[in-house]
Subunit: 93 residues, 2 copies
């Protein structure tokens, strides 16, 4: 009997930034009061952009609840193990 | 009579990433128990890399105390006002 809405995750990659903003908007409009925005590597700065656009243009009352950073190990095409930084930004209304 | 060490700031930009890691190491070694790592725009992902390298390679006990994200307005060369995302990561031992 979990009454709380589960957070939905939006993974930010290389598509145009408004795609991710719209994905977050859709999640929030559908009744989710929490969205987790994740990104790896260079997309990290784009994840921050997404949150800023959401806050400045759409939801002035959107709060950044938590930001986590970390490292993931990724196998490169040549078989090397690379460390990639990650970010997880939880926003809520 | 402020006895607490003031936090030192390292601004991450376009130089090789180890430059910023070394700047943080120097600050910590000199007795500062807190470093604020700041970056704007695309350098945001590099700031996260700096923190991850510090934690994984140098100080296993380094803690991420606070992460703030925000927006700054920057004047472009053509006179336009651009919004640039910012990050401020406070780490402490």
């Amino acid at each position: 009997m979990e009454s709380r809405q589960l957070a939905t995750t939006v993974l930010v990659g290389k598509k145009p930034i408004m795609n991710y903003v719209l994905a977050c908007l859709a999640t929030i409009q559908s009744g989710s009061n929490e969205v987790v925005i994740k990104a790896r590597g260079r997309a990290i700065s784009r994840a921050v952009d997404v949150v800023q656009i959401l806050q400045n243009r759409f939801f002035k009352d959107l709060k950044v609840k938590d930001i986590k950073i970390g490292t993931e190990q990724v196998q490169s095409q040549t078989g090397q193990t690379l460390n990639v930084s990650t970010i997880e930004i939880t926003v809520s209304r």
